[in-house]
């Protein structure tokens, strides 16, 4: 059996077609293009994107930037006034953002080089969290049964552990376990920095995925009952397809929102952990660490703290606003 092409003519000829009189067709533009177009028209989104891009560029080209400006990592305590332990200047031609109290390190250098770890932590951890959270959530919600029970139990379990306190326990242990230090506990700087970052990211991921998983699971449970999912099952779509082609796109909203909330949240958490002394490991320079050590002198030498603080605030704000804009743009329902 097949459908006779003649039928189309009949349909149109019968004059009961309502579609042909609808709004002018918008042929040729893919959904993504349309979304991008909407984004392009969103002024706030553009500003946010510019901010994010600038920071990302800064993180990528950190060495080039500091070379051009002509600052380096070398500390110079002799720049500091020993009676106050503060630099006697805020900004000069050699040090556009001043120098760090006590050590005399160039703050511009620290600012530029502090961006990468912050962004890396945020993006890596958020991405991993997202992948694990979504996979687990989809599996739990879709397969149900014991898979659901096992995953949900883990979610409950991990959510019942106090995250920050666990961080206190895990970071040093990770350092000792995976750092493979020599007898004296020595680990090369590069490796140490890497392990430090990896363990921080792991903690963020381990404690981050459960809530996302819970959210996704809930959404999947309700989506599973939606008629369009039933429809695709009726068409004989295999589970994988139902999961990834039918459900996942509908989770895009919460996922984008979560992603763009998570990145800044993780950046902030890194800063917070640094405040508590368990952030990234030296010699890594990060905004969080700078803020943590600057917070006591924010009155006497404000630039020290406010530059990274405002950077984080800006980045966080830009990311979350941009996230809102993106999920809006990709949501056909909010389209005009």
């Amino acid at each position: 059996m097949s459908i006779p092409p003649g039928a189309e003519q009949t349909a149109v000829a019968e004059g009961e077609d309502i579609a042909l009189e609808g709004p002018a067709p918008r042929e040729g533009k893919s959904p993504t293009q349309i979304a991008l177009e909407r984004l392009r028209k969103d002024k706030i989104a553009i500003v946010c994107l510019v901010v994010i891009t600038l920071f990302v560029l800064m993180a990528i080209f950190q060495t080039q930037i500091t070379n051009i400006v002509g600052v380096n990592a070398q500390p110079d305590p002799l720049l500091i006034d020993p009676t106050t332990t503060l630099p006697p200047f805020t900004s000069n031609s050699d040090h556009p953002l001043g120098v760090e109290p006590q050590t005399g390190r160039d703050l511009f250098y620290m600012w530029v080089h502090g961006a990468r770890p912050s962004l890396l932590v945020g993006i890596f951890a958020a991405t991993m969290t997202l992948l694990i959270g979504i996979t687990m959530g989809l599996l739990a919600g879709f397969l149900g049964g014991w898979v659901d029970r096992v995953i949900s139990w883990w979610v409950d379990f991990l959510l019942s552990l106090p995250f920050l306190i666990m961080a206190f326990a895990i970071v040093p242990i990770a350092m000792a376990r995976f750092g493979s230090p020599d007898a004296s506990g020595f680990i090369e700087d590069d490796k140490r920095a890497l392990i430090g970052m990896a363990s921080l990211i792991s903690i963020l991921v381990i404690f981050g995925w459960p809530s996302l998983c819970r959210l996704i699971r809930g959404e999947v449970l309700s989506l599973r009952e939606r008629e369009f999912v039933q429809a695709s099952r009726a068409l004989g779509a295999p589970s994988r397809r139902v999961l990834f082609k039918e459900m996942l796109p509908n989770l895009l909203g919460p996922i984008i929102v979560n992603y763009t909330v998570m990145i800044p949240a993780f950046i902030s958490i890194e800063a917070g952990l640094s405040f508590l002394g368990i952030g990234l490991q030296p010699p890594t320079i990060s905004w969080g660490q700078t803020i943590a050590s600057a917070q006591s002198s924010f009155e006497t030498y404000p630039i020290y703290m406010w530059v990274p603080t405002i950077s984080i605030a800006l980045l966080v704000l830009a990311l979350s606003l941009f996230g809102d804009a993106v999920s809006d743009a990709f949501n056909p329902q909010t389209r005009r």
Binding site: G15, E16, D17, I18, E21, G22, R336
Partner: protein
């Protein structure tokens, strides 16, 4: 096991109201215009609507989805957010002008003078609150009585609308009610303050036929008892045929035809009404194609010029330019006495008789 073959005519109730003067004018709507400013432009939901209603009468408003039935009725209840709505014209309810009235006046009128029953009883009750208190709340808003008295009143009302075991039911949540019972409770809520006007916005659309019949009977009984006026909004012309005195057909925010139920449904004058009637698959008919109205409902932001129905009208070529340029008046046409319609056609009655009526059989 109940023997219930009660047979009676569910239609115009007998003339024996005891609440309010029968025939007294309760509602006069004049030149009502309701507009919503939105990001896309001004939505002209209702454009110069006029009608009136007497006590003890039932007016049915029919029309396509989006034709302004609900919006105009909500305006009568003063339920539009004044910050997001522009209303002009006049609504006189029981002698009081409502357009531009203060919020407190509107509040006093709501439920006590006019009350409204909404389409979907499931979503119209607060899901987290018990039915009884929800009804009592309306009573309390207009009577200085204790909570207990109000609760008793709400139980009484539930009993009145035929909910068995009303005392216990009043303490249950909406989701514990069946669809039909929820709609009964909705009616109880509508009547708790003995309003003179009851607006029922698609009260049975969500229900199946047997329950629908129960509800319509109930409304008829209650009207008989209280003599109140009812505005019944519905899509179902068969329902209209059975219960309404008058019918107003709306299209694009305007009334296109207004008359008694018999006049409008048996001898409609407007091509839109013809289309509407043609679309209904009748119990007594079978097979074959249904008549349809081609095209899409009009955009309320850019209403078609002239007669709003002209882009979809099959009879437009018999009139010519006027359909596109001039908005026909809602007026009494040649050969009619009281009924009004809004069409440029010279001889609608004839066209109906000769061309349309046959297709409706």
């Amino acid at each position: 096991m109940t023997e219930t073959n009660t047979t009676e005519t569910a239609g115009v109730p007998a003339d024996e109201g005891h609440l309010g003067q029968r025939g007294e004018r309760i509602l006069t709507v004049k030149d009502l215009t309701v507009q919503f400013p939105t990001a896309d432009g001004l939505v002209n939901a209702v454009n110069g609507l006029s009608y009136s209603l007497d006590m003890g009468k039932t007016l049915a408003i029919v029309g396509e989805s989006g034709s302004g039935k609900s919006v105009s009725s909500m305006a009568v209840m003063g339920l539009h957010d004044p910050q997001r709505t522009r209303i002009s014209g006049s609504i006189e309810l029981d002698g009081t002008e409502l357009v531009g009235a203060s919020p407190s006046l509107l509040r006093r009128m709501r439920s006590s003078t006019a009350s409204m029953i909404f389409q979907d009883p499931q979503s119209s009750f607060h899901p987290f609150k018990k039915i009884g208190p929800q009804i009592a709340e309306a009573y309390l808003a207009h009577h200085k009585v204790s909570k207990q008295v109000a609760m008793n009143r709400s139980v009484e009302m539930l009993d009145r609308v035929g909910i068995p075991n009303p005392g216990r039911r009043a303490k249950q949540y909406p989701h514990e009610f069946s669809g039909g019972m929820r709609q009964r409770a909705m009616i109880a809520l509508g009547l708790v303050n003995d309003p003179k006007l009851l607006i029922a916005d698609e009260p049975t659309t969500a229900l199946d036929v047997t329950v629908q019949a129960q509800i319509l009977d109930l409304l008829g009984d209650l009207q008989k008892e209280f003599g109140s006026a009812i505005v019944l909004i519905t899509h179902d012309l068969a329902v209209v045929a059975e219960v309404a005195d008058d019918v107003m057909v709306m299209y694009g925010g305007r009334a296109v035809e207004h008359g008694t139920a018999h006049e409008v449904l048996a001898n409609p004058r407007h091509p839109y009404t013809w289309g509407l009637l043609g679309s209904v698959p009748k119990l007594s008919s079978q097979g074959g194609n249904l008549r349809t109205i081609r095209g899409l409902p009009p955009s309320l932001i850019n209403l078609p010029t002239g007669c709003s129905f002209h882009p979809r009208c099959d009879f437009r070529d018999r009139v010519g330019e006027a359909c596109v340029t001039t908005l026909p008046e809602l007026a009494v046409r040649e050969g009619d006495t009281t009924r009004t319609s809004r069409c440029h056609l010279q001889n609608p009655a004839e066209i109906f008789e000769t061309e349309v009526a046959a297709t409706l059989e």
